[in-house]
């Protein structure tokens, strides 16, 4: 076992702990905080089932973004769904035997890397070209894009240019899961790829990537439009009623 393998093993344990605990705490915080008033952006669904449909349209199709700006929608949707395919494809490195459906999407997942990079490039270009978007872009926004582009490029390099010993990589990750550490190949592209992934996992709970859990808790999107039919009172607001009676 090389020291690189040990360092990467520890980094992955640490990053996993950070993302799971960090995002978990954020989700708990969102769930705990009451939404005292009914503020769905209307027209809004009048039933819970309707809210599920609305949320699904937002999460799967980016419906509001589609209404808003077709360029951001095309680039954003392309990036996110390519990323999803790529992530699902990567499940093959964590499961043995590889699940059938994961094997099935393998060819799509491989090419999705290009769609992902194209989407990111489009989003990045907007940050430079469109004056309004340039104005709201901060250093952290560029860094986030750099991180994702870096992950995409190093990944694509390994798929199409300089292959790594993928069997050993898989052994390494299965070893991490089963606490039976195995050596990691030490070629530079792989180490860069994994290092950037670790960085992304660590910044996730402290950055705008919180939009991922956030969207599900957005009261303008997840509330049922039924305030006249059903009285909605937050616990802290109910105390105001109680005090007077």
């Amino acid at each position: 076992m090389s020291s690189v393998s040990v360092i990467y093993a520890l980094m992955f344990y640490f990053a996993t702990a950070v993302i799971v605990v960090g995002v978990g705490r954020k989700i708990a915080q969102y769930a705990r905080t009451p939404a005292p008033l009914k503020i769905p952006t209307t027209p809004a669904p009048v039933t819970k089932g309707g809210v599920v449909v609305r949320m699904a349209k937002e999460v799967v199709l980016f419906a509001s973004l589609f209404k808003s700006n077709k360029w951001i929608w095309i680039f954003g949707w392309m990036f996110h769904f390519a990323l999803l395919l790529v992530l699902l494809r990567h499940l093959r490195y964590f499961t043995d035997p590889v699940w059938e459906w994961v094997a099935l999407i393998q060819p799509f997942g491989k090419y999705a890397a290009f769609a992902m990079l194209a989407g990111l490039a489009g989003l990045w270009a907007r940050r430079i070209v469109v004056d309004r978007v340039r104005y709201i872009t901060g250093p952290s926004d560029h860094l986030m894009l750099a991180l994702l582009v870096g992950i995409g490029i190093t990944g694509a390099l390994m798929t199409y240019v300089s292959h790594t010993d993928i069997v050993a990589v898989k052994a390494f990750f299965i070893g991490l899961i089963t606490f039976n550490w195995q050596p990691l190949p030490t070629d530079g592209v792989l180490l860069a790829h994994l290092g950037l992934v670790v960085a992304l996992m660590i910044v996730f709970p402290f950055s705008k990537l919180l939009h991922a859990p956030g969207v599900f808790f957005s009261p303008t999107r997840n509330q049922v439009d039924n305030p006249r039919e059903k009285r909605h009172v937050a616990p802290w607001a109910a105390k105001l009623d109680a005090r007077e009676e």
């Binding site: 009914k38 954003g76 104005y135 250093p139």
Partner: protein, 510 residues
Amino acid sequence: MAKVDFDTPEMQEVSILPKIKPGSMEHSSPFVAKDIHQEPLGFPGELVENFEEKVVEKMGDLLDKYRGFRVFLDSCVKCGACTDKCHYYLGTSDPKNMPVGRQDLLRSVYRRYFTFAGKYFPKLVGARDVSKEVLDEWHSYFHQCSQCRRCSVFCPYGIDTAEISMAAREILDSVGYGQKYCNEIIGKVFKIGNNLGLPGPALEDTLEGLEEDVMDDTGVEVKFPLDVQGAEVLLVTPSADFFAEPHIDGLMGYAKVFHAAGISWTISSYASEAANFGMFIGSYDNMRKISQRIRKAAMDLGVKRIVFGECGHAWRVAYSFLNTLAGPWDFLDPKYPVPQHILEVTHGLIQEGKLNIDKSRNDDIVPTFHDSCNVARASRMGDKPGGQFEIPREVIKAVCNNYVDMAPGTTHEATFCCGGGGGLLTDDLMEIRVKGALPRMEAYKQVTENNGVTNIVAICAICKAQFTKILPFYGFGMDAIMSAHQLVSNAIVLEGEGQDDADESEASEA
């Protein structure tokens, strides 16, 4: 008219997206509330000494109380989808009037004190400390937001700048740096019962005057009852309906509808105000206190139903919040939703054929309808989503022959604010009000030129007052703005009306 020293923006055939002009509206800031405006609302009279500490403390309090506030501050990815959606940005080109630009004025402080990244890497994520300059900037730009929610329609996470701007105003109030206009008005509601400070006897006189006017016009005795015990309906309407034009013509319309349908109704001198500026300043306590007045009035008068007159944000508070703030309403007649919008009432009566309508009386008018933001994006009418768009249009079409809609993308959920909502309807904010009206004026100009539209109809007291003032800046007559129920009032034929009067349309104009 107020003196102005700014240029009215030029209207374009096809709206052109302006290039950003940083700082172009930084001089715009409303009058600061004095102690006499602040203290009756429970706020400190002047900027407190340790405001840095207090701002952070209040922000923490709001973060724990409002999930939306917290989620919205965390979730923005700076995608830019909202950047061209705010009418104030479109009218001023100031990037701090882009919804995300406005949010970031507060988000930067949130990050500094409440996030890991902002505590340790402030430059990286644009975090900054609280300072007097920051508060000045908030006072300026959070009073260039009409809380119209147009941005929230287009945000992929539903981030609602209205919520951020309400929170910012609540924080400013809590450290003694409020806005005079809103806080002075809320004080009047607590002291006298309405925004205008119109006391009971004056209200009684006004209503008697209206009875005489309707009598002169129609020859029918239509009552405008005040504080009538045991009436079926309590009408809660914006106090502008009692004296301002064209609001008052709308009030006459409500009275005629109730009269024609044989519904007994009353106004309450104690709760003679539908508007609730507590919402504009983001104060749950003040909003609740104002709402509780309606509960008390309904109980004292022993009414069975509550109906709201034409008002945008008032309908939001009524429809979306009243049950929360002042419910439960189990002492009212369960056959009717609580509260109802006057348009729901009129719409229902028209459907049932209970009103005698002569559409031709509105033949000299080609109206278009301005969806008020709070009705469009923060409430509903009827029992189906989108009823807030259909019901007003169906009522207008039922009482007039020539209805025309403005361009898609400027109506329904994408409607443009009149420019004066959200607590900005004050002369010290005239410039932002005129500039913010640009997108609406462009859409209106288009239908006046292409479709011969003569009037713009609104269902909001603020829209009506705002348009009266700003239409002339864009070359339109101030009387182009009408109440929806003004059209109803024109067209409704009352039993026993003008039996020997040949020219009815003239009589109904006044």
